[in-house]
């Protein structure tokens, strides 16, 4: 059947930080821009980012510069990062942050009136530009309020079913709108994926319903490559109680402001396990740690601010050893700073207002007086679409990716604060190069027959109706499997078991049903999400099997050590001609001597 068709130079899928930043750049580059988002504008997951965006501006410590930021990012990523992306990110983040101020962002200030920067895990100096603990809201609102004056067409509450190609090149997408459940074709010379993460593949996650790996799966089905999918970040501090908010994020900013981790015996266990390569930078006792968070430049950071992968594993270890809190986590205590400062209560409320309200309202707990109970939560995927570091274009000509759904900058583990800056640095680049690509290429043709097939397939759940399986149950089973078998601690036998179960869910997903009308139909939407969730889950499990070592966010109980020969490769998955998932290892290109030298000089 004929579809109404929207035609743009650049089509952007996703309206979080990366998508909006790409839209601004593409529109400024003269392209006509269409922006599709699953929710209302300004509600994307970026809004939940709390701590800040990392940019080596050196406002709070003038020893900071791009070289230190680059070295920190590579060390955090255990050196399997795309070094070119890490370099570009460290160099360009300051300009991207400053330009937000020109667009109306109101970031917290230093005493001399510049942008204030805070400490965060894995960052050597105070580096995160922030607004209290609602930096993501500030970022998305600034970009949103700038975009609405640029003539970008926003298609809210539209979900992309699949990308369409023309002779191997990106040509657009088929999407449906939630309000009416109708299908719309989008033709574009260039397509940018900015769809965020995959957290909904797990049971305990900080991600909203939108994090179903759409961009990862759309790109994969279109023939692009995914790399580093084994690297999933489990954020060490998610809420564990009450059950309905399990997984909800507790910002790392709590630890940046002096929050400490304790087990049920009251022991500050993070001091017991400090990795060798971080020892020179880590405080030797609680007193030094406190001096660090209060701005003493001669002090080293407390072990609570080690990288997220390490802190999450230490917490898991305490809980497994029987030293956890009543609801299966450990204690995060910011109230203790009352001993140290007279106005602690007011200070906590001013620095961490959302956290104060979140615990007060959802858990009946006053964080200025009592410790919080926290535990790891699925937060972020380092893996994603393999892109060119400079242009963000994937292996499919005309298909770009930016932000969490792209891969490279973070390697095996992302540092907190490097995500918001990633969004604006690479969102900008994707927009710029997509607009340039659109200028140089003729409009592609949309294949009507292919669009019809996609629409028919998307409507199949209604044909099965009430006879079909409940999509929510398949989703729940998948989430439980990934949580239990491909989580923080992994072994080969469990992951093989997970892959077998995923096969079963695939069969069940092909039998799910939906009844009633198509308008704003959550059940039908969940049925369509399953395909993407299954693809990313399989990619994670297969990549994790392939990497027989422990590195960053990926921990193998059966291979607990790092292996040098795996430090020079990325694991890649790609769909073969028969539709099966192929796994391979690809060598990381050698780093230029200049960058090697930067890493060496920052090792002390």
């Amino acid at each position: 059947m004929p579809h109404d068709t929207y035609t743009y130079d650049v089509l952007i899928i996703g309206a979080g930080g990366a998508g909006l930043r790409a839209a601004i750049e593409a529109a400024n580059g003269g392209a006509s821009v269409g922006l599709i988002c699953k929710s209302l504008l300004g509600k994307a997951h970026t809004v939940m980012a709390e701590g800040g965006m990392a940019a080596a501006m050196g406002h709070n410590d003038d020893r900071d510069n791009w070289r230190v930021h680059f070295a920190d990012t590579m060390r955090g990523g255990q050196y399997v990062n795309n070094w070119r992306m890490a370099e570009i990110h460290a160099k360009e983040a300051p300009d991207r942050v400053r330009e937000l101020e020109a667009w109306g962002a109101v970031l917290d200030r230093t005493t001399d009136g510049r942008i204030n920067q805070r400490n965060f895990g894995g960052h050597r100096y105070p580096r995160l530009a922030h607004v209290g603990d609602r930096t993501g809201l500030e970022l998305i609102r600034t970009l949103q309020d700038h975009t609405i004056y640029l003539g970008v067409t926003v298609h809210m509450e539209h979900t992309v079913v699949d990308l369409v190609l023309d002779d191997g090149r990106a040509a657009g997408a088929l999407a449906y709108d939630r309000e009416r459940g109708r299908f719309h074709a989008f033709a574009a010379k260039a397509v940018i994926l900015a769809t965020g993460g995959i957290g909904r593949a797990y049971k305990i996650t900080s991600n909203s319903w939108e994090g179903t790996g759409d961009g990862h799966a759309l790109a994969y089905r279109a023939g692009a490559e995914l790399i580093d999918m084994e690297f999933v970040q489990f954020h060490p501090t998610g809420m564990v109680w009450p059950p309905s908010v399990q997984g909800l994020l507790v910002t790392e900013g709590v630890r940046g402001e002096g929050g400490i981790l304790k087990n049920s015996e009251g022991r500050r266990f993070m001091f017991d396990d400090i990795p060798d390569n971080y020892k020179p930078q880590t405080a030797s006792d609680p007193e030094e740690g406190w001096r660090y968070v209060t701005g003493d430049k001669s002090a080293r950071r407390p072990p609570e601010l080690l990288t997220r992968d390490h802190v999450a594993r230490c917490i898991t270890h305490e809980v497994k050893a029987g030293r956890g809190s009543p609801h299966g986590g450990v204690f995060l205590d910011i109230a203790w700073i009352r001993e140290k400062m007279p106005n602690a209560e007011e200070h906590i409320k001013r620095k961490l207002p959302s956290m104060y309200h979140q615990f007060k309202q959802l858990a009946d707990l006053d964080i200025t007086r009592e410790p919080m109970e926290i535990g790891p939560t699925t937060h972020y995927i380092m893996g994603g679409v393999r892109v060119d570091g400079d242009t963000q274009m994937s292996a499919v000509p005309g298909l770009f990716a930016a932000g969490e759904c792209a891969s490279g900058i973070n390697g095996a583990n992302r540092l907190g604060g490097n995500s918001l800056s990633d969004l604006i640095v690479f969102g900008k680049r994707a927009g710029e190069f997509a607009a340039a690509w659109a200028r140089e290429h003729a409009a592609p043709r949309l294949n009507q027959a292919a669009l019809d097939r996609l629409e028919q397939a998307a409507l199949e759940p209604f044909e099965r109706g009430a006879e079909g399986e409940n999509p929510y149950m398949v989703q729940q089973d998948l989430q439980e499997t990934m949580q239990a078998l491909v989580g923080i601690v992994r072994t080969e036998s469990e992951m093989r078991e997970a892959l077998e179960r995923l096969d079963g869910y695939k069969a069940r997903a092909s039998r799910v049903g939906a009844t009633g009308h198509r308008e704003y139909h959550a059940g039908w939407h969940t049925a369509l999400d399953l395909r993407n969730l299954l693809t990313v889950s399989e990619a994670i499990a297969r990549s994790a099997l392939e990497r027989q070592e422990s590195r960053g966010g990926h921990f193998r109980e059966d291979f607990p050590e790092k292996r040098a020969e795996l430090g020079t490769v990325n694991v890649m998955v790609k769909q073969d001609t028969g539709g099966a998932m192929q796994v391979s290892r690809i060598p990381i290109p050698p780093m230029p001597d200049g960058l090697k030298q930067v890493i060496e000089e920052q090792k002390s």
Partner: protein, 248 residues
């Protein structure tokens, strides 16, 4: 807490209009209203429409009227409600219905575009940056906490009871305008438009908007009244009027 409770949820009909549908469902400690809606969706009514995202009070998607009170469903704990009586959950009534608990809030996005955009003064430093004191941005930061849940628009009687959507932009968009007007770097003048197009005079400061704001922004006191004062001193202050007469 009692193990089961009854929720009366508004269901729209395909041909227009709607009715409450009762659902009996299990409840447990710590649950919020949005959890209940999700449980009903997963177990009893898969086509039940609800808009939500973050489930943490940060995105402002799940606005609804719970027992008649405008609230975020994700931040309303069951322990605050009397579960011995049925709990009603209905959509925001100021906006056109789409389906069940979902309403068409696109008007808010359209109206916002009518506010003149941010226009900063030239940079203070050669590197293109500005200097601002924290105390000078505290108020603007209060406004910028807004999560655009539109609950203030929902309760504003100018919109809800008098449907002045074409003449009045409502508390949310007034707060957006106030954030720009009070931004230390901004140079644009939105005061004439406040009076002429945006209908600031319609607000008679009943503070309903402030009461429902989940971010506790003092919308009336800190945003709307100062804007009203600027309009008054520009157009109605006797001394200024006299000066204007002399100038012309």
């Amino acid at each position: 807490m009692i193990p089961e409770a009854t929720f009366k949820i508004w269901r729209t009909h395909p041909g227009g209009g709607g009715t409450f549908q009762s659902f009996r469902t299990k409840v447990s400690e710590g649950m919020v209203v949005l959890d209940v809606v999700h449980r009903i969706q997963a177990e009893q009514a898969p086509d039940l429409a609800v808009r939500w995202n973050c489930k943490a009070g940060k995105c402002g998607s799940c606005s609804a009227e719970i027992n008649g009170n405008p609230r975020l469903m994700c931040m309303t704990r069951l322990s605050e409600l009397n579960l011995w009586e049925p709990v009603t959950v209905e959509p925001m009534r100021t906006f056109p219905p789409i389906k069940d608990l979902v309403t068409d809030v696109s008007w808010n996005f359209r109206v916002k575009k009518g506010i003149a955009k941010f226009a900063p003064r030239p940079a203070d430093a050669p590197d293109g940056t500005w200097r601002m004191a924290q105390r000078d941005i505290d108020r603007v930061q209060e406004f910028r906490k807004c999560i655009e849940c539109f609950l203030c628009q929902d309760v504003c009687h100018v919109l809800r009871d008098h449907a002045k959507h074409e003449e009045f932009i409502g508390p949310r968009v007034l707060t957006y305008a106030a954030a720009l007007e009070m931004h230390p770097l901004d140079t644009a003048d939105r005061i004439p438009a406040m009076k002429a197009q945006h209908g600031i005079g319609y607000c008679n400061i009943t503070k309903c908007c402030t009461k429902v704001c989940p971010e506790h922004i003092r919308i009336t006191d800190n945003a709307i009244i100062p804007l009203k004062e600027r309009v008054v001193s520009r157009y109605y202050d006797p001394v200024t009027r006299l000066l204007r007469v002399f100038k012309s």
